[in-house]
Symmetry: C2
């Protein structure tokens, strides 16, 4: 059953997830503690946490927004809740059913994407300004070196 069988969904342990995402087990447990990551509800207290590839992708995304945009864990929580609310709606109205509702959901997603893009672009602008200032100073120092 090597070829076309459904992949058996390999589960990862917390240490592997930490390494894959560039964090620590402690951080992952903390994110679960504050409700940013869901606790796989079939787990018994004291037993090992197990994670799917989807969990890893989700954590990666959170870390990216945290580091690149400087969002607080509270921001991330609100963001994730809004996202899963949209996902819930999407599920309910997925195929067929009221095209009006489908349109409304997609438009909401667009607003959300536009918000995030705005943040990202502002940050990029600031970084570019910093970069060109540093580059200018670099040219200046090089010119002075040549003048010797």
């Amino acid at each position: 059953m090597t070829p076309a069988a459904a992949a058996p969904e390999r589960l990862l342990r917390i240490g592997e997830v930490a390494e894959l995402t560039g964090t620590t087990p402690r951080t992952i447990r903390y994110y679960e503690e504050i409700g940013l990551l869901r606790e796989s509800d079939d787990r018994v207290h004291g037993k090992r946490r197990m994670y799917s590839d989807a969990d890893v992708a989700r954590l990666r995304e959170l870390i990216r927004l945290r580091d690149l945009l400087g969002l607080s864990l509270d921001d991330l929580k609100r963001l994730a809740e809004a996202e899963s609310a949209r996902a819930g709606l999407r599920e309910r109205w997925e195929h067929a059913e009221e095209p009006d509702e489908q349109r409304r959901i997609l438009e909401q997603a667009l607003v959300h994407l536009a918000d995030q893009l705005k943040l990202v672009r502002e940050r990029r602008g600031e970084l570019e300004r910093l970069e060109s200032e540093l580059a200018a100073r670099q040219r200046q120092v090089r010119a002075r070196l040549k003048a010797l």
Copy 2:
């Protein structure tokens, strides 16, 4: 004496500095406490702190590196110490004196600038990847909207 007189060096209070730099007085006092900002040594305990325009520029730079590059206050301190060590050297060998030493100092400055530029460019690359991913998702949602 309006025109060519040396500007009387207007001094600012902590609240004004906080507003100009987008922080809080508490943060400025904390930076002083850990030695990231120098305490203007003529100040008597309990009296108001006063800041020059140069102090404001310095604080702005620190905040920029903190926010855009995610540096810790310890990183910033090391960075500032290295910078002022270079400034000290520069002062000693400023005009004339051993051109060999001048060259060495300038080359050190170049290394430092290259290090910072590397960090800035890496960050910008990450941000650009995030941006293009978001833009792609935006196009996808728009296409789906049109398909309705």
